[in-house]
């Protein structure tokens, strides 16, 4: 076996965190992208700014804000734990949340651009054929923006795999629970004699990032071909 059990655990956890982070942020990102692309409302610039904050703020700040808000004693965290039994603090779910927040601006940007590129005349044509608004979205808008949605999800996934600052601040660095690849590498560099192992994880990190990029490029091309009917 190429990887040790400990390494496999780190890899599995990283993929799990990134996967769920992307999946749960998808509806939010799509809704925000749609809102920003199509709607006009007071405070739109402000919302746009808030969505982009994770891109420009130090990740530590995001992690700390999440901790204050969603930690065991945070106003939202305490409520969620009591009412719904959902706990983020020091759990892998918290790592997924941190990852999805950090990936959100990238996902929203990519999806927003693709929604803005949709020819709205096609949607009007669909409505004259009897399609209600939701059906128009599902059968015209969504297939046409699919390349953008995929692209947004990929960027968010890649960002999640690399997430460090917000994760370590929000959910700490607990092996087997919140210790994703970057955190494990960081830990190894902090102990004497961990260099060789850290390097192995770095190579692993490069490998999965690269394969994610390649797979997504293939998917993207296929989706683009379908959307343009060529």
């Amino acid at each position: 076996m190429l990887l040790s059990p400990a390494e496999l655990e780190v890899l599995g956890l990283s993929l799990k965190v990134a996967f769920w982070g992307v999946l749960c942020s998808l509806p939010v990102a799509l809704a925000l992208a749609y809102l920003l692309a199509r709607a006009n409302f007071p405070g739109k610039i402000l919302l746009d700014g808030v969505v982009h904050l994770p891109l420009v703020l130090p990740p530590v700040v995001i992690g700390y804000l999440l901790l204050v808000l969603l930690g065991r004693n945070g106003p939202l965290g305490a409520w969620l734990a009591e009412q719904l039994g959902i706990v983020f603090a020091f759990r892998w779910t918290g790592a997924a949340l941190a990852a999805s927040v950090m990936g959100l601006p990238l996902a929203v940007r990519a999806m927003r651009q693709s929604i803005e590129a949709v020819d709205r005349k096609l949607e009007a044509a669909a409505s004259t054929l009897g399609a209600p608004p939701l059906a128009v979205f599902a059968s015209v808008t969504l297939p046409l923006i699919l390349p953008g949605v995929l692209n947004g999800m990929l960027l968010s996934f890649a960002r999640s795999l690399g997430e460090f600052g917000a994760t370590i601040t929000f959910v700490s660095n607990i092996p087997g629970e919140t210790q994703t690849l970057p955190l494990a590498i960081y830990s190894l560099t902090q102990v004497p004699g961990g260099d060789a192992q850290a390097l192995r994880l770095c190579v692993l990190s490069v490998a999965i990032s690269l394969s994610a990029l390649v797979v997504s490029e293939v998917l993207l091309r296929r989706a683009r071909r379908r959307a343009h009917g060529t």
Binding site: A124, A126, S127, T128, L129, G130, V140, G229, T230
Partner: protein, 362 residues
């Protein structure tokens, strides 16, 4: 089918304020680009909300500003064939055609087989819009609108983006549609040829307003006397029946209430009804019956009106036993011949001036 339209809407510097009614068949909205025709179609389809007015189909209001009625576009059951086709690029031709079926209430008046046959689409069904020609796209757009089972079909210059051979091909399909499916059509065009060939009723628009409307032949004859239309290829429309086809000479005799008209290369069978457009500049006038001339068509009539003069020429209206013809002649001739309303005249039309583009099935 009865369509009532009365809409008002400001669009930037342009004010749309149009009202007309139609009793079925093909209604043409005719006018130059920018006269508001497409805006009227969009209002009927529910894609443009008027500020004031009322749109009703068979008495059922689709839009009524006063009563606060505004039926959503997808509930109006109004098919729309757009100028640029607007096929969904991610679907095959078959999927495009059937797109509206999943939302239609009933089984529909036409089937996919019928539409495929009617519009000649059988070979295209599995292809995607990307690599189709403009004419093919337009035929699919028409079929797609039909299959959604519309109560009314809107067509916005469906031929505008096509070259001449494609145009006549699609015109042929639209004629079949009109005659075989019987769905009422509102057809937007700035081409007099198309209007004459297809329409029963015409609504003439200019700068957002309706100048005139009514049956094609009457309205056209009325409109031609105004300088507004002088900038178009002015002419009159007569309905006739093919009485004889002289294949040796290549001439057809077309009977109409005012007499007989000889025209070359008429692509119709004896007994079929055709509509002929005779351009005003192809008609000459004489006050006595000329003899020994090459013109085959010498039609006796009465001069009924002199139009406003635009420069050297004047459009003159002649009543040939109930059929209205128009002649564009010089003011100099009007004076020289002493032409005035009530004067008996002979209208002379060169047969070869009636080309095949001027003749269509009625």
């Amino acid at each position: 089918m009865r369509l009532e339209v009365s809409v008002a809407r400001r669009l930037g510097a342009f004010a749309l304020e149009a009202a007309f009614a139609s009793g079925g068949g093909v209604t043409a909205l005719f006018g130059r680009s920018g006269s508001g025709k497409t805006s009227v179609l969009n209002a009927i389809a529910g894609l443009l909300r008027p500020e004031r007015g009322r749109i009703a189909l068979d008495g059922e209001p689709l839009f009524d500003a006063a009563a606060g009625v505004d039926v959503a576009a997808h509930r109006r059951r109004i098919g729309y064939v757009f100028q640029e086709g607007r096929l969904l690029p991610h679907l095959t031709v078959r999927q495009n055609l059937l797109y509206g079926r999943r939302f239609a209430r009933g089984p529909g008046a036409v089937t996919l087989d019928k539409v495929t046959e009617l519009l000649g689409l059988a070979a295209l069904l599995e292809r995607r819009p990307h690599d189709l020609s403009g004419g093919e796209k337009q035929r699919i757009a028409i079929g797609r609108a039909l299959l959604a089972d519309p109560l009314l079909l809107l067509m916005d210059e469906p031929l505008a983006a096509l070259d001449a051979p494609r145009k006549s091909e699609i015109l042929y399909y639209i004629e079949r549609l009109r005659d075989e499916v019987g769905v009422p059509i509102v057809y937007v065009s700035h081409s007099l040829d198309e209007v004459v060939r297809l329409a029963d009723t015409v609504v003439v628009m200019s700068e957002g307003r309706v100048l005139d409307s009514g049956p094609v032949d009457e309205t056209m004859a009325r409109m031609e006397l105004r300088p507004y239309l002088g900038r178009f290829e002015g002419g009159a429309v007569i309905e006739a029946r093919v009485a004889e086809q002289d294949l040796e000479m290549g001439l057809a005799r077309l009977d109409f209430p005012g007499g007989a008209l000889y025209a070359p290369d008429v692509d119709a069978l004896v007994g079929e009804r055709v509509r002929v457009r005779i351009r005003a500049r192809d008609v000459s006038l004489a006050t006595v019956r000329p003899e020994a001339i090459s013109m085959l068509n010498v039609l006796p009539g009465t001069l009924t009106a002199l139009g406003e003069s635009a420069g050297a020429s004047v459009d003159v209206q002649i009543d040939v036993a109930g059929t209205i013809l128009l002649a564009r002649i010089t003011r100099k001739s009007v004076e020289a011949l002493g032409l005035a309303p009530g004067r008996p005249v002979f209208a002379l039309v060169k047969a070869v001036a009636i080309d095949r583009h001027s003749v269509g099935w009625a």
